[in-house]
């Protein structure tokens, strides 16, 4: 395997008095989808937010392509090529879909071929291009949230639960878009609770518990071993 695009070395993060991450060791291979799995409250979202710099690591190192980004400000991390799709989607409700996308194109005007590709992945965004994002449905907002990350090529995508609370029709749209992103050779660290999506997209997986990575390996291996799933996450994913 080539050098990982992202490496976390013994990362500890506190939020107020709470010790959330307690020595996270994680590698995200280049050009692959790495699933970050685990029960609620084990530190998956905190891991993503620590990587993007919203919360600061108290200890440890975060390396993006070998460059230490642990103490870099969030805008610098984003400009280094990290696209972030937060759990709450983070769309700008008062701005139109178009304005949301223009804002996401940090390096200049939106590339028209890239935009066509985004529209192909998420047709409703073309329909509602001039509409305020706050008027979109939950699924459309999630599409916009991912489309914003896709509008420019990034070195790494951090995506937090993109299918959470969505109807099956939207879930399949999301999965198809993420598969296309993956086919373009993108490196993705994806937090996902929907097992069928995780199994379909994931190349490798890391399972968290109590603020640490307790298992990492091939997604295929985890997906086919019910006993392992039971041991790591307290339930068999097949039950999903």
């Amino acid at each position: 395997m080539s050098d990982p695009i992202l490496r976390l070395e013994g990362v500890y993060t506190n939020i107020a008095q709470y010790h959330i991450l307690q020595g996270v060791e994680l590698e995200v291979p280049r050009g692959a989808v790495t699933m970050l799995l685990g029960r609620n409250g084990v530190g998956k979202t905190t891991t993503l937010r620590t990587i993007i710099g919203h919360w600061r690591a108290r200890q440890g190192r975060i390396l993006l392509d070998g460059q230490d980004i642990t103490q870099m400000p969030t805008p610098a991390i984003a400009r280094a090529g990290v696209g972030f799709v937060p759990e709450d989607m983070g769309i700008f409700a008062n701005l139109t879909v178009e304005e949301n996308m223009v804002l996401a194109a940090v390096s200049g005007p939106i590339d028209s071929a890239r935009l066509d590709w985004v529209f192909q992945a998420f047709p409703p965004l073309k329909t509602f291009w001039k509409s305020e994002a706050g008027n979109l449905s939950g699924g459309q907002k999630q599409m916009l949230s991912i489309a914003r990350a896709m509008v420019e090529e990034r070195r790494l995508y951090l995506i937090d639960e993109p299918t959470k609370g969505l109807a099956p029709a939207i879930v399949s749209t999301m999965a198809r878009a993420l598969r296309e992103l993956k086919a373009q050779g993108a490196s993705i660290l994806l937090v996902e609770q929907n097992f069928s999506v995780a199994r379909a997209l994931g190349d490798s997986a890391c399972v968290m518990d109590d603020g640490r990575i307790i298992w990492s390996g091939e997604m295929r291996e985890l997906a086919t071993d019910a006993a392992l799933q039971e041991r790591l996450m307290g339930l068999s994913m097949e039950a999903h």
């Binding site: 805008p75 709450d88 983070g90 700008f92 409700a93 008062n94 329909t127 029709a169 069928s196």
Partner: protein, 343 residues
């Protein structure tokens, strides 16, 4: 994984009431003007009061627009905003007094040139002061509302005392440039020339701000930052720099408002900014915190209300704007055009 059916949304056609709802705050201004016309039997008096109210509203907008953006963008309650109004007025008046030859000449071009220089001087001074104020006073108290109130209030007092040290404790009387004195008569109503200039300037500033906020990338960043600063940073924008820029621009606008307000009242004092803060806060609150459009409409409503009520029932004028604020907040508790904030 099984494939679900395609998601094919369609655009719903909104009812007339739904389409009008966003425009309701805008309609309040003509509604108030019509109400004024019905309440004031003399049409020429009504026209004079309306222009006067609009001029006052424009000047309040100039002073308040920076404050609403600063609050919306970085959640900073700046009680020291009035300091920029006072300093702007004193610097502007000082420039005008130095340019007595230009202001005393009966030439509109020379008078406007003098006013332009006074405005530029005031905006440069208050912009620079805004940069220092943000750095020294505001930056250490981000995220602490109570400390912000106390510290910025303290900053205001310090600046007022500095004005007294530099310009003396007395009020300074200033007369308007020669060509802007007096009034023109239109439809039997006397319309003060200076107020017409104030209306024009206010419209130009509002149009400029709106264009910047709606049509430029920096405007997009500001609007997005008002809503969800964290996400703006995650997209790669240095919001801190944007905020400092907005703070400086807001301070400079307050300085501009101070010059106009000083010439409007024809007297400036160290406490004039502090006194104007009541109206400024009313405008910012009823407009919707962070909303420039709301601030503009709110300022016009306050200016018109103050002038109409002062004419009809002078004793009620003092509380008329408080009543306006109560009525609007009962209708829309988050202000007329609230900015949706990320949770």
């Amino acid at each position: 994984m099984s494939m679900a059916p395609e998601h094919a949304p369609t655009m719903a056609r909104l009812s007339l009431a739904q389409r009008l709802a966003p425009w309701m705050p805008v309609l309040l201004v003509p509604l108030l003007v019509v109400a004024g016309l019905l309440a004031i039997p003399n049409t020429s008096s009504w026209l004079t009061l309306t222009v006067s109210g609009l001029a006052m509203g424009m000047m309040i907008f100039l002073m308040a627009s920076g404050l609403t953006l600063v609050f919306g963008l970085m959640d900073v309650i700046n009680f020291g905003h009035g300091a920029f109004v006072s300093v702007g007025a004193f610097v502007g008046v000082s420039v005008l007094l130095m340019l007595g030859g230009l202001t005393g000449a009966p030439s509109l071009a020379l008078n406007l040139a003098a006013m332009g220089l006074a405005v530029i001087g005031a905006m440069l001074a208050t912009g620079a002061m805004g940069w220092a104020f943000e750095k020294v006073i505001v930056e250490p108290v981000y995220g602490h509302h109570l400390k912000q109130i106390l510290v910025t209030m303290g900053g205001l007092i310090v600046v007022e005392q500095l004005i007294i040290v530099l310009w003396g404790p007395e009020e300074i009387y200033i007369s308007r440039p020669e060509a802007l004195k007096g009034a023109i008569t239109f439809a039997g109503a006397a319309l003060e020339k200076y107020r017409l200039v104030a209306v024009g300037l206010g419209l130009v500033v509002f149009a400029g701000m709106r264009w910047t906020l709606r049509r430029t990338k920096i405007g997009l960043i500001v609007r997005a930052g008002v809503e969800n600063g964290e996400m703006v940073q995650a997209l790669g924008y240095r919001l801190r720099l944007v905020f400092v820029g907005v703070f400086i621009a807001g301070s400079a606008l307050a300085g501009l408002g101070g010059v106009m307000w000083g010439l409007y009242q024809e007297v400036v004092s160290a406490h004039m900014g502090n006194q104007a803060m009541i109206l400024i806060f009313i405008v910012v609150i009823i407009g919707g915190l962070g909303s420039v459009e709301g601030c503009f409409i709110g300022a016009l409503l306050v200016g018109l209300m103050q002038n109409y009520v002062a004419f009809l029932e002078p004793k009620v004028a003092l509380i008329s704007n408080i009543g306006l604020m109560v009525a609007i907040l009962m209708w829309r508790p988050m202000g007329m055009i609230p900015v949706v904030k990320a949770k």
